[in-house]
């Protein structure tokens, strides 16, 4: 059996199964098993690509190379750990009466379909299907954000749907323009949206159309990445949805949207003289970083705060890819990995912490280290990691981005340092009393799943200290593809 087909089929089939049988007792286990299966298939696929090089699937409609297989592996991994985490988390929520059985069923089936949509978006070769899959990923998560059916969560989901819907419509216009440009070169065959065909003729694409197309694509997919000033939906959706959803939104969906931009940037770079696409991304990236950093200090809700931290990091990553070149791309990819792992670990810890204390307001969360030392330490270490403290991998990638910026874009360095500094002060000042401090909270009925938190942080720590040579090779390969 083909690993690739398995990887797409497992979430699709299990999503359908969970829609029907989602209220059975074994459903949570099926969710985890399906995620495990997806992860194993993705791992198999990764091994295959690393060994044999790029390949196609389903004719030329799907294409896997070292760039997207890296995202596939990351997505499948975080998908697996999040499903493990969500088992006890969701049971606790049901116990608290915040969720009913039908809603748990909805959650599980949508979770699997969401994974399917993201994996399809990552592996497709057709930029049209990429758009369709991105839209599908939005649709599957809209109902997840409003899972609690509270007024606030409905508002968040509505905002999410409308803003992302509008954004993604812009991306479709960009895709149409791209097709318009490609059709002139490739003719009216169905190949004019296939990335592998486009990349061969990228020099012949009409620069004016490509420039306009890239602007629309950047704005469109950028809405999903959370680039300022289109980031409004992101904190709401993260804060009001269930924590596992926040974790996958932050850790995975943002990455996938950024991946879509990267694929388009490669084409735009080939077509437009001058570093047009790169400059746009640098501008958006820096602006996003600054906006997010200054909003961070005003947050009272812990999940909102970390959502803003995600926006900040997405800004930084966009900036890195905007600089371009092997080093910056390498750093960007590394930072994406680190951010995914760390941020989802933080959301796991935060999820348990808010369940224990029954509130998301930071001023009411105190003394986590007493209630549950593991959660307390998990949150503290995760925060230190995301803030870029030295032994962790985030430090390595941020350091690379900074030094590269210093060398090639010296004017940007103070802005970067300002953003990172403000973010550091804001987050650390708020997390510290949450972890240490006095409290009187009760135990939870179901023991929290702590393993994913430390698994992620462990990997981040390891990557900070030592990146295995095959991983470096792989990153280099992917960075080179981005030009």
């Amino acid at each position: 059996m083909d690993f690739f087909v398995l990887m797409l089929a497992i979430p699709l089939v299990s999503g359908a199964l969970l829609t029907v049988f989602g209220e059975c007792d074994w459903a949570p286990n099926l969710n985890i098993i399906a995620s495990l299966g997806t992860f194993l298939a993705a791992a198999g696929l990764t091994a295959e690509i690393v060994a044999n090089g790029p390949r196609f699937a389903f004719g030329e409609q799907f294409f896997i190379d070292s760039l997207n297989v890296f995202f596939v592996a990351l997505t499948a991994f975080v998908g697996l750990t999040t499903s493990i985490f969500s088992g006890p988390y969701m049971r606790n929520e049901a116990e608290h009466g915040r969720l009913t059985k039908p809603r748990l069923r909805l959650y599980k089936s949508m979770y699997q379909l969401f994974m399917f949509a993201m994996l399809a978006a990552l592996t497709t070769n057709n930029l049209g299907i990429l758009w369709v899959a991105m839209e599908a990923a939005t649709l599957t998560t809209v109902l997840l954000v409003s899972l609690y059916r509270t007024p606030a969560s409905l508002e968040a989901a509505w905002k999410y749907f409308i803003l992302c819907g509008v954004g993604i419509a812009q991306a479709l216009f960009g895709t149409i323009l791209l097709y318009f440009a490609a059709e002139r070169v490739l003719g009216e065959s169905g190949n004019a949206l296939l990335w592998t065909h486009l990349i061969d003729v990228k020099g012949q694409l009409e620069p004016n159309i490509m420039a306009l197309s890239f602007i629309f694509l950047l704005v469109g997919y950028g809405t999903k990445v959370g680039l300022a000033p289109l980031h409004n939906w992101l904190p709401d959706a993260h804060a009001e949805g269930p924590t596992p959803v926040s974790a996958v939104l932050s850790g995975l969906l943002l990455n996938v949207a950024l991946y879509a931009i990267l694929r388009c940037k490669v084409l735009a770079d080939g077509a437009i003289p001058g570093d047009f696409a790169g400059k746009l991304m640098i501008g958006f990236g820096l602006f996003t970083l600054l906006v997010a950093a200054f909003f961070l200090s005003r947050q009272k809700d812990v999940k909102r705060m970390f959502a803003y931290s995600s926006i900040e990091h997405m800004g930084l990553i966009t900036f890195a890819f905007g600089m371009g070149g092997p080093v910056a791309n390498f750093a960007g990819l590394l930072h994406m990995t680190m951010h995914s792992l760390t941020k989802s670990a933080i959301f796991f810890a935060v999820g348990h912490a808010t369940q224990k204390t029954g509130t998301q307001l930071m001023e009411n969360i105190r003394g986590l280290i007493r209630i549950n030392p593991l959660i307390g330490w998990g949150l503290m270490l995760g925060t230190l990691a995301i803030l870029g403290m030295p032994p962790f991998g985030v430090f390595a990638s941020e350091f690379m981005i900074l030094t590269h910026a210093m060398k090639h874009y010296p004017w940007a360095t103070p802005v970067l340092l300002l953003g990172l500094g403000v973010a550091f002060a804001a987050i650390f000042g708020k997390v510290q009393p949450m972890v240490f401090g006095e409290t009187e909270a009760k135990r939870l009925p179901h023991a929290p799943a702590i393993t994913p938190v430390f698994l992620h942080l462990g990997i981040v720590l390891m990557l900070g200290l030592y990146i295995p040579p095959y991983l470096t090779r792989w990153f280099h390969e992917a960075a080179r593809m981005l030009g």
Binding site: N126, G128, L143, S146, E155, W158, I176, F180, L193, E206
Partner: protein, 222 residues
């Protein structure tokens, strides 16, 4: 005056202009039911223009595309929306945040911007209906304007769907249609989106006792 433009292209241009006209009519419309009917008419015009493109270029997949438009945007979606309006007892008056004449003026400015943006691209195009790209962009922008200036959830959705119409117009008239897989995917997404929204409306109404989105202004950064 020459007959350099073939008749089919003139028809397509005419339909494109009618779609733009309908987009403005939607912007000026005060009644929800009439708004949905206008949306259906826009869909029908889009379907006709796709048909003309299909006949004149002989691209068979455009027939399916036209059929899909007819089924989805002229029959199914308006029907769903009408049902929703009836079931939810939506008040018939559309409430606008900015008064309608101002909205129209802003819309006019948007059309000028859209035309200006599209002009250099239209000149490069070899397709006979290049002008429609500017109109499509204008329709997208007008729909966008409608979404930001209207207070009712249902009008926002109609705006969203009208935006989709503009995009389809761009795809069919300016580029003679996207590959079939993509069009099918887009249609599926739109349909699923509207169904999800239908579910969503009921949830919103249960929580807020209204489909007015100004109730939903609690989430703010402060």
């Amino acid at each position: 005056m020459s007959s350099a433009i073939p008749f089919s292209a003139q028809l397509i241009n005419l339909f494109a202009a009618v779609i733009l006209l309908l987009a403005f009519a939607m912007l000026a419309q005060r009644r929800v039911v009439a708004l949905i009917n206008l949306f259906a008419m826009q869909g029908l015009t889009l379907c006709l223009s796709t048909l003309v493109v299909a006949v004149s270029t002989g691209q068979s997949h455009l027939y399916y595309s036209a059929g899909l438009t007819l089924l989805l945007k002229v029959l199914l979606l308006p029907w769903i929306l009408h049902r929703l309006v009836r079931k939810l007892n939506v008040k018939s008056e559309v409430e606008a945040l900015i008064n309608i004449p101002t909205t129209m003026l802003v819309g006019l400015v948007l059309v000028m911007i859209a035309f200006n943006v599209a002009l250099p691209i239209s000149e490069l195009s070899h397709t006979i209906t290049r002008g429609t790209l500017g109109i499509a962009l204008a329709v997208v922008m007008l729909a966008f304007l409608m979404m930001i200036t209207r207070q009712k959830a249902i009008t926002q959705v109609v705006g969203f769907l009208s935006m989709e119409n503009g995009l389809f117009l761009a795809a069919t008239s300016a580029t003679y249609g996207m590959p079939m897989v993509v069009e099918l995917g887009i249609a599926l997404d739109v349909l699923v989106g509207v169904i999800i929204l239908g579910v969503f409306f009921f949830q919103i109404r249960d929580q807020f006792d209204s489909l007015d989105i100004h109730h939903m202004e609690r989430l703010k950064d402060n």
